[in-house]
């Protein structure tokens, strides 16, 4: 008995060999850099390259910077409204695709294409389409007689954030649709048949059967999409660089700009620490939500 216990202990030790490579990668490239960020956030790099300890000055600078409030507002709009649009469109698309129609398989494959495209490629296409002179969107608006003079979507402070959000929504909503669709398929069809016999309308069926039964997986999906949105750096960087006049700047782009364009590494690290804290909350919510998910099979 004692012998077998020792043997088991030994096994537990030997089995660790399987995860050592993973641990090395994680420690060197994720854990240590995260600790470094905390450390870096209390220093400031002087022009001659020396690091000076400044305490919480970088955080103070962040909260007193007049540009911060706009950036935080942009981040909130980008994350919350963007996610709401993606989920809402996802539900609508999933409802359309759930029913049987001719060419359903092809349609499901086609809506995957925006999600499969590299972000850089979709940014290039949309940049061309948004162009005030030879862009397709202005041409469509001209054809419909909606505008007299061309609109510069990306160059206007009022529209730049919405314009980049649209690109992101276009790319991610189909993914939401496919996810929601797969949870809708897991609902037993006899529930709908019973509802039909009782004479329930489609809207009633949606609110009484579909929505309650997909709600737990929908919640997890929503948190995940929110986290992805918070972390989405590429689209804004490639399309507007956060401009004009910071009107489309969000947190992750602010981190990058301060690190590599303005050379404010301490300040950038301070924003990283704040982002890290915000993301930790989201991550815990995600895991909690994922664990409480119920399946109906």
């Amino acid at each position: 008995m004692i012998k077998s216990k020792n043997f088991k202990k030994n096994d537990k030790l030997i089995n660790m060999l399987y995860i050592i490579p993973m641990c090395i990668i994680f420690i060197i490239f994720i854990v240590i850099p995260i600790l470094k960020i905390f450390n870096l956030s209390v220093y400031e790099r002087k022009i001659n390259g020396t690091l000076v300890f400044v305490g919480l000055q970088n955080f103070k600078d962040f909260f007193t910077n007049p540009d911060t409030s706009l950036m935080l507002l942009n981040t909130a709009i980008w994350v919350f409204i963007g996610t709401a649009c993606k989920i809402l469109l996802g539900i609508i698309m999933a409802l359309i695709l759930y029913r049987n129609f001719f060419g359903k398989k092809v349609a499901t494959a086609i809506i995957l294409i925006p999600y499969a495209m590299p972000a850089a490629v979709s940014c290039m296409i949309w940049k061309l389409m948004y162009n005030p002179v030879f862009g397709h969107i202005n041409q469509i608006l001209r054809d419909l007689n909606l505008i007299d003079k061309p609109l510069n979507f990306l160059g206007n402070m009022n529209t730049s954030l919405l314009a980049v959000m649209l690109v992101n929504i276009w790319a991610v909503a189909p993914f939401c649709a496919l996810n929601i669709l797969s949870s809708m398929y897991s609902i037993p069809t006899y529930l709908y048949e019973a509802a039909k016999l009782d004479g329930a309308s489609y809207t009633k069926q949606f609110f009484q059967i579909t929505l309650p039964l997909i709600s737990s997986s929908l919640r997890t999906l929503t948190i995940l999409i929110g986290i992805w949105a918070f972390n989405a750096f590429d689209v804004i960087f490639m399309m507007t660089q956060g401009g004009p006049a910071n009107s489309s700047l969000i947190m992750v782009n602010d981190i990058y700009q301060n690190a590599f364009q303005f050379n404010n590494r301490g300040y950038s690290a301070a924003i990283s620490v704040i982002s890290f804290a915000l993301l930790s909350i989201f991550a815990l919510l995600y895991i909690k939500s994922k664990n409480s998910e119920v399946t109906y099979e």
Partner: protein, 282 residues
């Protein structure tokens, strides 16, 4: 009776119409990409803008390799992607196996670390990563990007593979143990062959995510010929004023970059929804 039938017909007509509208909106940018890739440059700038090119210029698809420096971009992308796939599978298969079938010290906290690590965008820690890679002289080399792509896709791939291994019945491994296989042999001879579909899907995911990666490729690579295709295309746009961009070639390059991805995604389309939402602490 006729009335309900008519109602049903209009309803299905309406549904088909909605489907078509949805598909047109989804596909419109893709159509624009293909349309511009077939235009001559002066046609791109001519107003009113048309979707159908005035005269089709199929030679763009050959000219782009001569006029633009994109061949090296594709070669770099392939080197980085293949390197990442090799490294990521050799690290993630044993790790996923251990999480799925074995008992070891620190299993729970490590699993939690894997789950949480994929929530944080790499841009948050880009400064320390840059200094680290700079210190070991890896900046502007392929290995730097292979390491970064491996690191930031590892958790996702491990979780995918773990759920694949989870679906293999425990009895299979136990039978092998009785026959005298140790755990390494059980993994290589039994679990890997049995889970080949799952592993193929994971490799395709690693491929697409590495192929699309922009942040590190843009920040770490400075030698033009080593930049992956995504960055090469982006820089044509960045380094020219809008009216000086050879849009027809950029879009041709974009088509070449997108086609392999779309094909791969269509191959694994039944696994996509599972892949991203995998991984709960049970």
């Amino acid at each position: 009776m006729n009335k309900t039938l008519a109602k049903k017909n209009t309803l299905s007509l309406l549904l088909n119409l909605i489907v078509i509208i949805m598909l047109v909106i989804t596909l419109y940018p893709v159509i624009v990409m293909i349309s511009v890739s077939l235009k001559k440059l002066n046609d791109v700038f001519s107003v009113p803008v048309t979707l159908i090119p005035k005269d089709f210029s199929f030679e763009n698809y050959l000219q782009v390799f001569k006029k633009m420096n994109i061949t090296s971009g594709f070669i770099s992308s392939i080197i980085i992607t293949v390197g990442t796939i090799v490294l990521i599978t050799s690290i993630s298969i044993p790790a996923a196996f251990a999480f799925s079938k074995l008992d070891f010290y620190g299993k729970k906290p490590l699993y939690f670390l894997v789950l949480v690590s994929q929530m944080f965008a790499p841009v948050i820690i880009i400064i320390p990563l840059y200094s680290l890679l700079n210190k070991i002289n890896l900046i502007d080399t392929y290995p730097s990007l292979i390491l970064m792509n491996t690191t930031f896709n590892l958790a996702f791939i491990i979780l995918m593979l773990k759920s694949t291994f989870d679906s293999v019945p425990k009895e299979v491994g136990e039978a092998a143990k009785i026959d005298g296989c140790n755990s390494i042999m059980t993994l290589l001879r039994i679990y890997v062959p049995v889970s080949s579909t799952g592993i193929a899907v994971a490799i395709i995911f690693a491929f697409t995510r590495t192929w699309n990666e922009f942040l590190f490729s843009f920040t770490f690579m400075s030698t033009t010929n080593k930049k992956p295709i995504i960055v090469s295309l982006y820089e044509i746009l960045k380094n020219n004023p809008t009216l000086g961009v050879p849009w027809h070639y950029v879009m041709t390059g974009a088509v070449y970059t997108t086609v392999p991805l779309v094909v791969l995604f269509l191959l694994i389309r039944n696994y996509i929804t599972g892949g991203h939402t995998e991984g709960a602490i049970k």
